[in-house]
């Protein structure tokens, strides 16, 4: 069973590497955000599998915490873009009024 856990965690790790690569090259900003989000989900899975691999499944609390708050960052990003759009609009209007 241990080797199964090990294989699964290696698969997840390789996926994490791919996500990081996407985060590094990703042409648009959103690709990077996508990479962060995906990396977060993979971290949840990784922590869950590792806690079984190390024989202490009571450490699932960590994965649970991640699953709960991982997406707050994406909300912050959404809000950031929204306010940036409106702010630029406001600046353009101010310029036009001058």
């Amino acid at each position: 069973m241990e080797w199964i856990y090990f294989g699964t965690s290696i698969a997840i790790l390789v996926t994490m590497v791919l996500a990081v690569v996407r985060g590094l090259i990703g042409p648009t900003i959103f690709d990077r955000v996508l990479a962060v989000n995906m990396f977060g989900t993979k971290t949840v899975l990784f922590l869950a599998v590792i806690s079984f691999l190390s024989g202490r499944p009571d450490f699932l609390d960590l994965a649970l915490a991640y699953a709960l708050i991982n997406f707050i960052g994406v909300f912050a990003v959404l809000l950031f873009f929204q306010s940036r759009g409106v702010r630029r609009e406001a600046e353009a209007e101010r310029e036009a009024n001058k």
Binding site: T8, A19, L45, A48, D58, L60, A67, N70, L78, F81
Partner: protein, 175 residues
């Protein structure tokens, strides 16, 4: 019985690992943002479900399977929501035009139904995205492309002003 459980969870874990890997591969290889997102969000849910189910079978009759179920539930809720939020932000910023198009055919514009619901953000963000798109394409693509984007930019510039006016109007109406 233990052996059956072990085999079942091994199959689930390995399939889940494979799914997760395929998702990563898709994120790596897909040509543009929305297709990448499709790969990521689908396997985020599917692979995660398989892996967590496989672990659940190993948990025995303790608190562990419950915790795993909670993790699954929260992932199931948050992951698509995050994908939605991200896709929305990308659409509002006009990512579509910023992506490479393999065939070279003209890219579809974002539809104005967004413009009526959130006028100011859309028109403004589109314009700025057009600029970055022009920059990016001219850096990367074949020399024929910059001319095209420049033309598109000009069209946009012309289109921006009236769009903004209607935007203001709708904003006032709302308030």
């Amino acid at each position: 019985m233990d052996l059956v459980l072990d085999i079942a969870s091994a199959v689930l874990l390995l399939t889940g690992g494979f799914f997760v890997f395929v998702g990563g591969f898709g994120v790596m290889r897909m040509p543009e943002f929305f297709t990448r997102m499709h790969a990521a969000s689908l396997t985020d849910t599917g692979g995660a479900a398989l892996i967590l189910l496989g672990l659940m079978l190993q948990g025995g009759l303790t608190l562990v399977p419950l915790k795993l179920a909670a993790i699954f539930l929260f992932l199931f809720l948050t992951s698509p929501t995050a994908s939605y939020a991200l896709a929305n932000a990308a659409l509002l910023s006009g990512v579509k035009t910023a992506c490479r198009n393999e065939t070279g055919s003209p890219l579809p514009e974002n539809q104005p139904d967004n413009a009526t619901s959130r006028p100011a953000t859309v028109s403004r963000a589109k314009a700025s995205a057009g600029k970055t798109a022009a920059k990016k394409v001219s850096r990367k693509a074949a020399p024929a492309k910059p001319a095209k984007t420049a033309a598109k930019k000009a069209v946009k510039k012309a289109a921006r002003k009236p769009a903004k006016k209607t935007a203001k109007k709708t904003a006032r109406k709302k308030s």
